[in-house]
Amino acid sequence: MKFVDEFRDAAVINKTAEEIRRLADPSRHYRFMEVCGGHTHAIYRFGLKDILPDNVELIHGPGCPVCVLPMGRIDDGLSLAKDPNVIFTAFGDMMRVPGTQGSPLEHKARGMDVRIVYSPSDALKLAQLNPDRHVMFFAIGFETTAPSTALTVLRARAEGVRNFSVFCNHVTIIPAIRAILDSPDMRLDAFIGPGHVSTVIGCRPYEWIAKDERKPIVVSGFEPLDILQAIVMILHQMRAGEAKVENQYKRVVPWEGNRAALKAMGEVFQLRPYFEWRGLGFISQSALRVRDTFDEWDTEQRFRVPGVRVADPKAAQCGEVLKGVLKPAQCKLFGKECTPEHPLGALMVSSEGSCAAYFNYEHRKAALTSLSWPA
């Protein structure tokens, strides 16, 4: 409640929450999945769970790129960092994600040349500044970041930079949603669609969810009011017995997406036949690789990548949490062996990971409450 009270639109928020209570049928239980990790973070941060009626449950989806990356890919990428000729670059989010031999940051502490970049174009620039060494960019992200990597590869080719390559771990959101819908232990009524991914892909790719699966999906912004409005729109559809794709985030998301971004992605990347997702297993056509015509800028073509497969620690239940089958606190390791300070799974590392979000807001809040109880 606290964060909502601080929000400038507190009155509107309360009114919207009232509307949700009015629209939700008290005799049934609703399960809506927010696909995007940014939404998960916002939901915890703003305490939206507390203002929703008990029978409207939000299930956290797989939309956290760091979280869905299997440990083997981290090991694969880091294995190349051992080459003293290689500069390993990645976004800051990746730096604390554990591989079997430690995180990129720990590799840096052991003397390997591991550097944070905030943009793929800075990795390219680093290559231009270090012509005698090879700069590999550990690329992660859904369609929000994939176009930037693509454009960077196009620039590398245009500018003739040959000591730069991309270790491509870009994934695509639609097959992940399909895998979740196909999962037998999953029952969902509707989706809150990702905001920024949709800026790129638009709203059309979701149409099968409405048409074939008969489930509403509403693309939403990240303010508390956006998310609540998306829930209102979903409930309106359900009351009318409809299932449609709707866009609550029109101020940023065009229905058709960003054509220039899609074009750059199409030019540089092609779909992998399959790719392993942490928790969801192998999903066909769910990730991107660098096209053969850009071999020279593909880390996997230029270097011998070991292709490591690592099973998650047995006790950790990252997969169940990623699929929304378990809540973060239901994992046996949550808050004990696995904390944001000492993460065992990636869901505890990224602010978009549901475990970290839950730990930082719900778990700490509960701990504070129990501490202050005697007073």
């Binding site: 973070h41 303010e223 960003n258």
Partner: protein, 91 residues
């Protein structure tokens, strides 16, 4: 990484390329406009930036709202750190 950072375009690159200087809460950095080729912004326009690339044009009000959202999410410092990091600290 998944932060969407609002910035105002204050100068286009002199080389006629697709880079432009944006201002984000007083900090100026170069970003890439190559993904807005089909709907190029003009001077003074606001854009949402992801990992150093402008991804969409937005209104000034939406830019203010987005900065507020980042603040409320506790991500504004992280966003500024990202912006300061663009261009490897070189202008």
């Amino acid at each position: 990484m998944c932060l969407a950072i609002p910035g105002k375009i204050i100068e286009f690159a002199a080389d006629g390329g697709s880079r432009a200087t944006v201002e984000v809460a007083g900090v100026r950095r170069k970003v890439d406009l190559g993904l807005l080729q089909e709907d190029m912004p003009v001077l003074g326009d606001w854009v949402l930036i992801h990992v150093g690339f402008a991804m969409s044009k937005i209104s000034e009000q939406d830019a203010v709202d987005q900065m507020n959202t980042l603040r409320m999410l506790g991500e504004s410092e992280q966003a500024m750190q990202e912006v300061r990091g663009y261009g490897l600290e070189r202008e």
